[in-house]
Subunit: 161 residues, 2 copies
């Protein structure tokens, strides 16, 4: 089509949008966030705030570093996000008395109670999906994440064996 006539051994134009793996991931994430938005809005949660709640509902309290290791985020993102959630009364942030460098994040009563209202979110989102290929897709993307996390100097990459 274009001026790709110098592709000696190369098979095709490497810059075609449809050949990138990054673009469908980018688009899927944006579209998913757009779908979750209205559902989570009823819980007064944003999409990343919802992910933080998922982590805290599993285990609690957790340090900011531990949250970041789980979600692949750093304090530059988490600190203001957690402050907003604290302002909403979902959790409390307090320095660890045993190590004043750390900040322990603990759910409030309100934060724990919200879990019951969040229980219907997954089924609401997975409304019309076959859910067959989804399991395989999730595992594939997770494999990609673990590969990408290795190549990343950030994201507290110290959990892998």
């Amino acid at each position: 089509m274009s001026d790709a006539r110098l592709t000696l051994g190369l098979e095709e134009d490497p810059l075609l949008l449809d050949r990138q793996i990054c673009f469908p991931l980018y688009a899927a994430t944006n579209l998913l966030g757009r779908l979750y938005g209205p559902v989570l809005r009823k819980l007064n949660l944003t999409y990343p705030q919802y992910l933080v709640m998922l982590v805290l509902w599993e285990q609690q309290p957790q340090t900011i570093g531990a949250l970041g290791a789980r979600l692949y985020l750093d304090s530059g993102t988490l600190t203001p996000l957690l402050k907003r959630m604290e302002g909403a009364g979902l959790l409390s942030r307090a320095r660890d008395p045993n190590d004043e460098r750390r900040v322990l994040v603990t759910l409030t009563e309100r934060g724990e109670t919200l879990r019951s209202q969040a229980l219907h979110v997954p089924e609401t989102m997975a409304n019309g999906y076959n859910a067959e290929g989804v399991d395989a897709l999730r595992e594939s993307v997770r494999d990609l994440v673990s590969i990408l996390a290795q190549h990343s100097t950030r994201s507290r990459g110290s959990k892998a064996a």
Copy 2:
């Protein structure tokens, strides 16, 4: 492990982070953006700006609406982004004389020349990957995108038959 003892007919806790499809997509997108960042920085491009350039290198000129339909973004995101790229001398924005509502985006000489420098980006990024499962993964995520796009009222979803 936790308090999932009330799982009458349900198989498992639906709120476990590792059961969500949204989370690995979210993490993979963030990690990928973090990997692309330093590489694209040498071209003075951000990650979404790179995607815009990919679209424009394929076809040109394009309206903002067409760009948004391709990238699943709306003018609220694209307009300021394109203005920054215009300020960087990569493209020009001008009203379509035939329809003054539209804005035509055209690459400048500088924008077209940048393509040669971008040619090595894909191979740089795909450095240590087997690239076997990547093709299948890309198709799976693309299928997901097309499903999600149908459920979306936005993103000018008027291309499907």
